[in-house]
Symmetry: C2
Subunit: 458 residues, 2 copies
């Protein structure tokens, strides 16, 4: 369906990469952003209820509540933690349109209070149900009507995909990409970009926000369904990626992988129950923040935000602020002449369906650069030879809920000595097989999607 020069970087692109980068910087200078921390108990419009949960006075938006997790997966079998609860499905939407024979994506230079650099490239539409039902009496999100009124033939991708499973409770968003029907004007702060430009921006630090990476990952670029035409020559790695995306040649059959996943989902219990935040032994309110006694994981802060040029220009909200950062690594290896991706079935307490396909390594690291306990492939990834590194960037998570949350995302091309035999929660998959799972709901987690979005073909 996507047939034209998806990855054009310069020739025929409406805006050069340099222009786009300048636009982001300009947005940051022009728009006044003021974010100040306030004690959680003094957040305007938010109440702390009898369980210590943070609830908006409207009862809508989201809440931060306590849960108790019991599982027989992993070393820690029981814990309590705060988690974001937002039981509604939001929109993450992209509009695509052809200009000069090249597909362009309509991206917003969106400012979020939690972003370290305020403005990042975000999808055309990024709206919670509360947003688009106009709960907070702000402006109706731009372009919402284009998605609500899209004809079936315009819709390229339309799926429910998960949010971060350690911080959101069973949260999913509708990830949707539509072809423009007729002329579409880029409003102020919006800009048309090619897929090649988006991929180039994802190879830089903190330029493309987490929702944009999520929805962009669903474009099966290079696969059999979306021929990939670029005037520039493919790299050898690009050829290997296209082969892995298109060919039906793999170490394991799909039936094997489905059974492997079913077995893991059947074997492990994941029981999540509400638990009063103010009765947790390891988490407590201190100086207006909710913190972990060992100074691990994250804390919950309150912020007062004032931003020009948004639906609502000032508000207060709790945010999750990381104490440790994530290290997310995708390991690739050629097996039987075709590129395979090392995926793991990872259980996280907020997952919609127990486990999701996750990067080869996904773990928290402390200030000493070490993981909390033993993590397979961590040492390999942390000490890998520079010539094996395909991708190594810092990317931000959702700036509407997370505060200054930047994590390291890495892709490694493993050499012939890397083992084909792997532990039982891990599996080798081709890109073709990953796309088959991506097509259905919430099989591939947000961190894995972030990495897949950045795969370079050129």
């Amino acid at each position: 369906m996507l047939v034209h020069s998806l990855c054009a970087l310069h020739d025929g692109a409406k805006n050069s990469l340099e222009t786009i980068i300048q636009l982001i910087e300009q947005r940051n200078k022009e728009v006044a952003v003021d974010v100040r921390q306030v004690p959680l108990s003094e957040l305007d419009g938010w109440n702390i209820d009898e369980n210590g949960s943070l609830i908006h006075s409207s009862g809508k938006f989201f809440s931060v509540e306590g849960i108790e997790v019991n599982t027989d997966y992993g070393e820690i079998r029981r814990w309590t933690q705060p988690i974001i609860k937002q039981p509604e499905i939001g929109y993450l939407g992209l509009i695509v349109k052809e200009f000069n024979g090249i597909l362009h994506f309509l991206m917003q230079m969106k400012i979020e209070p939690g972003n370290i650099n305020y403005a990042q490239i975000s999808p055309t539409l990024q709206a919670t149900k509360s947003n688009f039902r106009q709960m907070h009496h702000g402006r109706k999100p731009l372009y919402l009507d284009k998605f609500e009124n899209a004809a079936p033939r315009q819709i390229l991708v339309d799926q429910l995909q998960s949010e971060h499973g350690s911080r959101f409770l069973r949260k999913r968003n509708r990830n949707i990409i539509i072809m423009a029907d007729g002329d579409i004007e880029a409003c102020e702060d919006f800009c048309w970009m090619t897929a090649g430009q988006l991929k180039a921006l994802m190879r830089m630090n903190n330029k493309v926000n987490s929702p944009a990476r999520s929805v962009f990952s669903l474009l099966n670029i290079g696969g059999a369904m979306s021929p990939f035409d670029d005037t520039r020559p493919l790299s050898d790695f690009g050829k290997a990626l296209l082969l892995s995306a298109a060919a039906n040649h793999s170490l394991h059959t799909m039936e094997y992988i489905l059974s492997w996943l079913t077995n893991i989902k059947s074997r492990y219990d994941l029981i999540v129950r509400p638990y009063p935040l103010n009765k947790m032994r390891k988490w407590h309110l201190q100086d207006g923040e909710i913190v972990h006694t060992d100074n691990k994981y994250f804390k919950v802060l309150g912020i007062n935000v004032s931003i020009e040029n948004r639906e609502v220009s000032s508000w207060s909200q709790p945010v999750i602020s990381p104490v440790q950062t994530y290290f997310c690594v995708l390991i690739l290896k050629e097996i039987n002449g075709i590129l395979h991706f090392l995926m793991q079935a990872k259980l996280e307490c907020g997952n919609y369906d127990i486990v999701e396909l996750s990067p080869s390594v996904q773990c928290l690291i402390g200030k000493d650069g070490k993981a909390n306990g033993y993590v397979p492939f961590f040492d390999y990834a942390a000490g890998v030879k520079p010539e094996c590194v395909l991708h190594d960037t810092i990317q931000s998570e959702e700036g509407g809920r997370f505060y200054h949350d930047q994590n390291r995302y890495m892709m490694i091309m493993a050499d012939e000595y890397f083992p084909v035999e792997i532990p039982e929660h891990y599996v080798w998959m081709t890109l073709n097989q990953i796309y088959a799972f991506l097509r259905f709901n919430n099989f591939v987690n947000a961190q894995a999607r972030s990495l897949l979005a950045a795969l370079p073909y050129i």
Copy 2:
């Protein structure tokens, strides 16, 4: 993978259909079954807690609890009801083996207390986690080790599929089919049957139990993946079915159907919260049963059971006893030269993922033969001309949780006057597309799977 005469009815089958039917009847005569109703408060080993929930004294097995449902789907926006809670994934397993060049399934003549005729044909293995972790100190289920030790190459199908969404809360089972590795003896009460025999038995009333229908439905018989070889000639209907299962020719693309489903899942809220059973306005304890004030839906009873020849030979438990029965109808129609199935996206309170693909009609009917309120296609199905009826049987639901629960299952071949235009919660799908959804977890509900299992090729 399944290559040999899947549907052989007589030639080469180890046992004739008549023999199998006799075996079931013999089982019923030989085994002493005694089921007596007792007041819920007097159930041995079960307690009624402060919320009115029925809990086993071990805290394991299952419980009957109260829920409050809030949704914006359908006419009733809020209700409370009792529901079965069993947060563990059980096994429904079939062993397949070739005899005389024909694949045979190892089926059990299993007696369940809720079955109207006690013995029905059930899968090789039908065990909850409590069963196979031997919570009730009974015998270890037969053949369990074959499934636990199956090599990947033996596994034909291995998926999580849902239970009835109006009576079980988010319950799923592992539906698995394995090829025998070497000799396997049929133990007492077990019998080898061909797929053709199973399909013939599903066209009779109350012979094949609900778990067997569920797991059998996952065999993509006739599809591109499992060539269908039968020495007997295909019927014209069988040809049309095979074409629908194999061809990539359909009214809608898979992307359209995925988007249609995503849209419905995104649009409707389904919020299910615990609610004390003993505080419900419309449900109350009366004469030792939990009943609905309007004498609708179902009631919850207590039974004392004594059965020879089971893991445990006597026990007590609550069961769900229907007050109304279900009418489940699958409407087929040729569109653009290929058979399409009319599926609906139905929201049920216990669904794992909001809505599932369900039969064209699935509704409760009262003693007057009428539905509770307006149900699309109900009048058409209830009054359809006999020559359009492909299948019309009474089938039992799971006799381990439901008491004398028999429902009418029907398949209709609609004529040219039946509309192609249908309401927005409905969609036309080919068998090929249904199989694509069946391959992944819990997209197709138990009632639809029951009907798909019985599709006749000959």
